[in-house]
Amino acid sequence: MGESILHTVTIICIVFISISIIILLYRVLKGPTNPDRAVALDTIGVNLMALCGLLAILLVTTKLNDVILLIGILLFIGTIAIAKFLEKGVIIDRNRN
């Protein structure tokens, strides 16, 4: 019984998170400015982490934990890169010395 409730709840969560990804996609596509899109992409990433966690529960596996951590790191790096690009126009500064 407990198993079944967990299962159902997990699936419901997955569905909701998927729906939120689709809504976020609307912002990415429409997003009047590029920062809007960047933030939306960042949020999609966070949703993906959650999705991976839920899937790990659903599939009863620990193998996906690496993926969750990796998404976290990459998301941070990616968002920083886009942010820096939007601000300065370049990602890697030249050494002026």
């Binding site: 699936i11 997955i14 569905v15 998927s18 729906i19 990804i21 689709i22 996609l25 990415v28 596509l29 997003g31 590029n34 899109r37 960047a38 992409l41 999609i44 990433g45 993906l48 999705l51 991976c52 899937l55 659903l58 599939l59 596996t61 193998k63 996906l64 690496d66 993926v67 990796l70 998404i71 990459l74 790096i77 990616g78 890169a81 886009i82 690009f85 126009g89 370049v90 990602i91 890697i92």
Partner: protein, 781 residues
Amino acid sequence: MIYAVFAPLVMTLLIPFFNKWKDKIHTGWFLLPIPLFIFLYFVQFIGEGFSPVAESYQWIPSLNISIDFYLDGLSLLFVLLISGIGTLVLLYSIYYLHKSERLGHFYIYLFIFMSSMLGVVLSDNVYVLYTFWEFTSISSFLLIGFWHYRERSRYGALKSMLITVFGGLSLFAGIVTLTYITGTTSIQEMINQKDIIIDSPLFPLILIFIILGAFTKSAQFPFHIWLPDAMEAPTPVSAYLHSATMVKAGIFLIARFSPILAGEPMFFIIVSLFGIITLCWGSYMAVRQTDLKGILAFSTISQLGMIMAMLGFGTKAAIFAAVFHILNHATFKGSLFMIAGIVDHETGSRDIRKLGGLMTFMPISATLALFGVFSMAGFPLPFLNGFYSKEMFFEASLHLDGYGGQFIPFFQQAIPYLAVFGSIFTFVYSMYFFFGTFRGEAKMGELPKKPHEAPIGMLISPFILVLGVILIGLFPNLVNGTFIAHSAEAIYGSAVEKDIYFWHGLTYPPLIMSIIVVVLGTLLALTRQKWAGIYTIFPRNLSFNEVYNYIVDKTETASTKITNKYMTGSLRHYVLYILIAILVVSGVVFFLTNGFAIDTSGLSTLKLSDVPDILVGLTMAIAAIGTIFTNNRLSAIIILGVVGYGLAILFVIYRAPDLALTQLIVETVTVAIFLLCFYHLPDLKKIKEKPSITLTNSIISIGFGALMTIIAISAHSSKWFEPISNYFLETSKPLGGGYNVVNVILVDMRGLDTLFEITVLGIAALAIYGMIKLRRDKEAK
């Protein structure tokens, strides 16, 4: 015999050494003995009791190709012509070509030609024959273009090359077909298997191929156009190649294959019809020429047509006459070319309108020309050999009693009239040639040089040839029994006994025809100025030169146009071609072979837990479509990122954590690289294109996507083998020592692939480094 054939070829290696002393001694003197020895060697075969001689040498035994030489009467006639006239031409060229010319080149080309011509007439193996045949084309090309700094020479050389090589390739097709049917490469064996060849359904094809090869080489209508342009060659070449030897190679070919091909109505009609047309057309056109060599070129065409027609008649008398005329034509035409060369050499002009009255300046040349010309015209005198063969030609044209004669009665009856018509014009241009050059008023003012008699050395060769004309004229039976009869026998297949008489009686029809020719010819020759206007009416622009130029021009411009049409330089178009090709070819093949098998039995059913898959897939699809329609490059990159991350999550859902990890990193790096070079990328603009182009592009891309989808579904629907994956799952731990099956496959089971993918990455990194660091152009500074 092999030494005789290859001696000139070997000699070409030594010519450059002789050429070093050319300031002291003319190179030709060193070479003169070679053809003379060959001639003397072959002379010893002449005799009443001649029987064929065969020799064989290994060349390519695995392909059944050996260098077989077969000397029968026909080959003997030709080798004597080639070596004999070769000697005379060599002697003539010593006086004709100045030491300042590139003598080494000239004699090398000439000797290659001599070797290959001997090879053509002596070969019994069809492939060896073909090899030598092409050698004659190539050396003729080189000789015509000897004065390569002249535009006309290059044009003539190219034209003769294109036409004769076209015919050569056709001949090759013919002999390949023959070999295929008979299973042998020897001509004599093919003759033995005549019945098999004639009964074969491929027989008409063989006939056409071989006749095409012979017609192009022997300048038969309508392939005669290269011969007049080949007159740009030095005169010894014209005398040797384009009157006595090479142009007779086609005649030789027809004669050689006569035992196989003759006897068929098709052979009779094609060969004799085109021969007669060539005879008439050549003699008609010769009267129009103003250049001495031009007249002789068309005269050669016409005489070759006459020989070809006689070979086509195929009766005993006709073949005897044809062989006889081959010999006669070589003697008088060779001497006439040499005299034309002398006139050119001593007056500086070959234009008959500027020449005239040279008899007083050049009495010996004029006398020699007189004999040559009247022999060519077939004037009825007992010391001119041309008359005998012309008379026999008339006789043969009247008695087409053999096969095929009843095939087209009208054509058969027309032949004698056409023969007389051609002969009348032959008479006219012969008279025009002689009287225009040597009689009439001398036009000293128009000539570049003051005319005088040629040096004695130059006159020897035409003198010997004219001596031949007279000797054969006086004692025709001297050559008859000894080798003309043997030649005719080789062509006809059985013994041909025929004596040559000058006088057959007054009511002998050919004599009457000859008299008609002389009378009408004289009348026409005297009134030539009055009717010469006919040439402005016919042929005017209807000559086949126009056709040739049109074809060559059009081929070039059309292929340029076509190439420019599709090689646009635009990558977009090339990708379009590739996609269309894949779409059409694989689509049609799949459709025809019923490859689109769709089977639903292997599919899993849709459950509630599949909802995330669908939603992620939907997200990816929307993002992918969004990429196409976005105007902003940055947003395109970010939206593409969504597709990449979506793929990663699909990997997660389908339980591929390693793939998901890799995909995430790669996607991030890709997005970062896009951003890195963002500034250097052009703005993404909407290019306004015609709706038709947009429509085509969409149709192709949608079609291609649909095709790939269907192929994927079909592939999934038809699984015929157990997958190998179970083996990996079972053996990953015991064999590879790891639980991570993917990684065990990557580094243990299929380690080699991984190695080279690492190499690919390494090369890519080095290439990027190289591209950035090494800039050779101005940008680097």
